[in-house]
């Protein structure tokens, strides 16, 4: 992985799980891979990243940074799980979203990874994230309405010359009635990076304003987030030592 990457997490549909993905990826990158991570809430209309992480009514936010030339460094909060967060302001607040890229640049070399939670609105709010990101992760779910939004989002990203890393399918029940990976890849023309399974533990963790990867690390959903985090930083999954040892015992040389 190139150092100091900025990933924009986008979707043209609210409620698909962008913010959940950002909080869990961030937590996993720190916890499992010891990366220095910044999470940015660029969903200017409905900034909920703070609420996913227990940051309620922060004094300074990204909105202040993009409105009144407030220092970005004063809007960074250290989270107990080890990553940093720039939250958004819940109440309406006028901003210029298009200066997001310029405001984030000084932070690039400070963090290994910056994750930007974007707006689902097709306007300057989303364009701001696209412009500020090195690569995009497009969040989708395996149904027709979301597929339609996904194809649209990808089309917009390509028009803006934004680089798409891949699609993350969220809340998959892995049932026959869902669209499968092949359907979505063929329809969108973009590779699927990960399929995150539906798991009620995500909501349970959210009720405590925490990511599921730290609350329930052994659940399938947490393992999926960890695998996605691993792929973003270019690491390969290590083979389990038990099987390697067995192979050695069985080899003729070992007799």
């Amino acid at each position: 992985m190139d150092n100091h990457q900025i990933f924009g997490i986008v979707a043209l549909k609210g409620g698909v799980g962008k913010t959940t993905l950002v909080s869990n990826l961030g937590a996993s990158l720190v916890r499992d891979f010891q990366k220095k991570v910044l999470l940015v809430d660029a969903n200017f209309s409905t900034p909920h990243l703070g609420l996913h992480l227990g940051i309620v009514n922060p004094k300074y936010t990204l909105h202040h940074v993009l409105n009144d030339n407030h220092s970005i460094f004063e809007s960074i909060y250290q989270h107990e799980l080890g990553f940093h967060v720039i939250p958004g302001k819940l109440a309406p607040f006028e901003i210029n979203p298009l200066i997001l890229k310029e405001r984030l640049e000084p932070l690039r070399n400070i963090y290994d990874i910056i994750l930007i939670d974007s707006s689902p609105s097709l306007n300057d709010e989303m364009y701001a994230t696209m412009a500020a990101s090195d690569q995009l992760l497009v969040v989708s779910s395996p149904d027709y309405p979301t597929l339609s939004s996904t194809i649209h989002a990808i089309s917009i990203a390509k028009q803006k010359d934004a680089k798409i890393r891949g699609i993350v399918i969220n809340r998959a029940y892995k049932k026959r009635f869902e669209l499968n990976k092949k359907d979505i890849e063929e329809a969108s023309g973009v590779k699927i990076l990960s399929v995150i399974p539906h798991n009620v533990k995500v909501v349970s963790a959210l009720s405590r304003m925490q990511p599921v990867v730290t609350n329930f690390p052994r659940q399938d959903v947490s393992i999926s987030y960890k695998d996605l985090a691993r792929s973003l930083i270019g690491e390969k999954k290590k083979k389990r030592k038990f099987f390697k040892k067995k192979e050695e015992e069985l080899s003729p040389d070992a007799i």
Binding site: Y144, S148, I151, D183
Partner: protein, 98 residues
């Protein structure tokens, strides 16, 4: 295209034809094509449609009702996939054309 010539004079061109034939064929004609020594329908499905899974299902169960169910399920699945593709193509078309 290899037509299946049923011993009762009927000709089968598709899985739909096979389904209809399985539902209506008399027991004697059925036994001529499906017995302990052979299963002409399973072979035709394998060589004509290259469908190993359906062919295996037809070979496994010599019971006519079960064969009907296997073919019906296959046809349903094909229709489902066709419908899915149509919907996705329409969605893509609408987005691309604005």
């Amino acid at each position: 295209m290899n037509v299946f010539y049923v011993c009762n004079g009927n000709e089968l061109f598709s899985l739909d034809d096979l389904l209809n034939e399985l539902k209506t064929i008399d027991d004697g004609s059925f036994s001529q094509h499906v017995n302990n020594e052979k299963n002409d329908f399973a072979n035709w499905v394998l060589y004509e449609f290259n469908d190993k899974i359906l062919s295996k299902q037809l070979s496994k169960n010599l019971d006519r009702k079960k064969m009907i169910k296997s073919v019906q399920n296959k046809i349903n699945k094909i229709l489902e996939l066709k419908k899915k593709k149509e919907i996705i193509d329409k969605i893509k078309g609408e987005i691309e054309n604005g």
